[in-house]
């Protein structure tokens, strides 16, 4: 366990040395919310969605969580292509421990990007409570783990071709974000669209976080189902990524 934390600390040290990216991420979030969030909340009927600005803000945070999870996958692939992965795989740490350290890195990355905007948004919409922040952070954390696991699982493609990996991840990202409820409540989605959105993990993560923060539950998925799905995706994709690292990713550049 000590070595897992040492490795995670080392990776987080690298992360913290790139502070500019966090400031950019927060600035982008603020700008997106101030411009598009405000504008769209004026376009949406207050009768249908009484608090669309808040709905939009949480959706935006879910997208940051998604990007952050994808970033961990990219980080993993970069390790491989810059020749660092064989070194990490030669360290006295189990493959599970290695992935756990990557997951901790992912959590740190996500939380640094998400917590300040979450607290500020909740403060401005008058819903800031310690419990709300705590449980919303857990929901977003679970979602982040699931996305991380998913992206690391896909990383085996990168060992064949980095171009195919980039194309698959870009396509997957577009589908998972667009076919989800990050910007639109499920009950307003057209019939042909809503079943597809149930396949996106972001739908469950976004609606669960909104429910925790007190959004109108009639416009959301059942929170129990959402919590179960988000947890299952986190456990399932992480287990899959463990298997992949253990069994498939051994074709890392040997010399």
């Amino acid at each position: 366990m000590n070595r897992v934390l040492t490795l995670a600390k080392f990776n987080i040290g690298i992360l913290l040395s790139q502070r500019t990216w966090f400031f950019l991420s927060w600035a982008l979030f603020g700008m997106q919310l101030a411009v598009y969030g405000s504008l769209m909340s004026k376009l949406v009927s207050p009768v249908n969605v009484p608090d669309y600005f808040f709905f939009y803000a949480i959706g935006l945070m879910v997208i940051i969580v998604f990007d952050s999870g994808a970033d961990v996958g990219r980080h993993f692939v970069e390790h491989a292509h810059e020749g660092e992965l064989p070194y990490f795989l030669s360290l006295p740490i189990s493959r599970r421990g290695f992935l756990a350290s990557q997951a901790i890195y992912g959590i740190a990355n996500t939380m640094i990007k998400i917590l300040p905007p979450l607290v500020i948004v909740l403060y401005f919409v008058g819903r800031l409570t310690p419990q709300g922040v705590f449980f919303a952070a857990i929901a977003l954390f679970l979602l982040g783990l699931g996305i991380t696991g998913l992206m690391v699982s896909f990383s085996f493609i990168a060992f064949k071709s980095i171009d195919i990996y980039s194309a698959v991840i870009a396509g997957l990202s577009a589908l998972l974000v667009r076919f989800s409820t990050v910007f639109y409540p499920l009950i307003f989605l057209p019939n042909f669209y809503s079943p597809i959105s149930l396949l996106s993990p972001l739908t469950y993560g976004a609606d669960l976080t909104r429910w925790i923060l007190g959004f109108d539950s009639t416009k959301l998925l059942d929170p129990t189902v959402a919590a179960v799905v988000v947890t299952a995706i986190a456990v399932g994709t992480l287990s899959l990524s463990v298997r992949i690292v253990d069994n498939i990713i051994e074709g890392v550049k040997a010399s």
């Binding site: 040492t6 660092e84 064989p86 006295p92 040997a254």
Partner: protein, 311 residues
């Protein structure tokens, strides 16, 4: 450390073909072979990065497939290509490495400083990894293993890209590590490196072990154990070659211009006869050089091809 019938396939390519290989505790085993002979693949399996397609591999009695984490606790590897972190300084890379191998924090700094000084890296301590030269990056790779002092230390071409002075330092540190009790495997295609370091040499060719023994015994195994190189003032005549062949004791003669290279069983018997025969034919000798066969000759003898020809 032992492998039994080790096979590794990459798709349809056989990298290792039924390799039986054993290293005794406390020795430096040099694996000598050209590029593509399977050296790096073998080392990657030993350090658990690659998995064997079939066969058994044990390190300190631990199975590399079943007990990978425990194997990694007792071994350290200096990779053929230096593995660093682009924006890190050498000292922070070594600190991280030391912390992963539970080296006491109180001893870490001194150990790192001393190792960096020994390998002439101390002057580069404030450079980022990406700004190190190829030779400096290789020395840093070696430094990782030296501060770790593992029970099994593996060096994959430890002095490629390193200057002559640096090579000697690395070789001496590797020997020092052996003297401190580590078992060492060095993979190389440099004959000089193998001659300097090896307690025993394993020659690997096309994924198979060709031969394994000490260097003197490998050299003795070549028929015609001494090599005599003679330079004449004039081109070597056919008559002289014929006369020398009739002397006996010369197993092969290779005349080329003014020079003659002879593989003989006992140079001390053959040389006086050769000088006498040359004198009788009026061929004046400029110089005589008696050498042992090199490891390249050994490689040539056992594989039918020169090591350097295959690089």
């Amino acid at each position: 450390m032992e492998t039994l019938n080790l096979i590794k396939k990459y798709g349809k390519t056989d990298a290792l073909r039924g390799l039986d290989f054993k290293v005794d505790p406390g020795e430096i085993m040099v694996i000598l072979g050209p590029n593509g002979s399977g050296k790096t693949t073998l080392l990657m399996i030993l350090c658990t990065i690659l998995k064997p397609s079939s066969g058994t591999v044990k390190v300190m009695g631990l199975d590399v497939v079943e007990e990978g984490t425990r194997v990694r606790e007792v071994m350290g590897i200096a990779f053929q290509e230096a593995r660093g972190f682009w924006r890190h300084k050498p000292s922070s890379i070594l600190k991280f490495h030391a912390s992963m191998f539970d080296i006491e924090p109180s001893k870490r700094q001194d150990l790192i400083e001393q190792t960096m000084k020994d390998l002439e890296l101390w002057e580069s301590r404030d450079k980022m990894f990406m700004h190190l030269s190829g030779g400096q990056a290789k020395r840093l790779e070696t430094a990782k293993v030296l501060i770790q002092r593992p029970k099994l230390a593996i060096f994959d071409e430890p002095t490629s890209q390193v200057d002559l002075r640096g090579k000697r330092k690395i070789w001496d540190k590797i020997k020092e590590l052996r003297d401190q009790g580590s078992t060492i495997i060095v993979a190389t295609n440099e004959v000089r490196e193998a001659e300097y370091l090896a307690d025993r040499v394993t020659i690997l060719h096309s994924g198979q072990r060709v031969v394994c023994d000490t260097i003197p015994r490998l050299k003795d195994a070549i028929a015609g154990g001494d090599i005599v190189e003679v330079e004449f003032e004039d081109p070597v005549s056919n008559k002289l070659v014929e006369d020398l062949k009739s002397l006996g004791g010369g197993l092969s003669l290779s005349p080329q211009g003014n020079q003659l290279r002879a593989k003989v069983s006992r140079a001390e018997d053959w040389v006086p006869k050769m000088t006498s025969a040359s004198y009788n034919l009026g061929s004046k000798i400029s110089s005589i050089r008696i050498t042992e066969p090199s490891l390249d000759d050994v490689f040539l003898h056992f594989t039918g091809r020169g090591l350097e020809d295959q690089q």
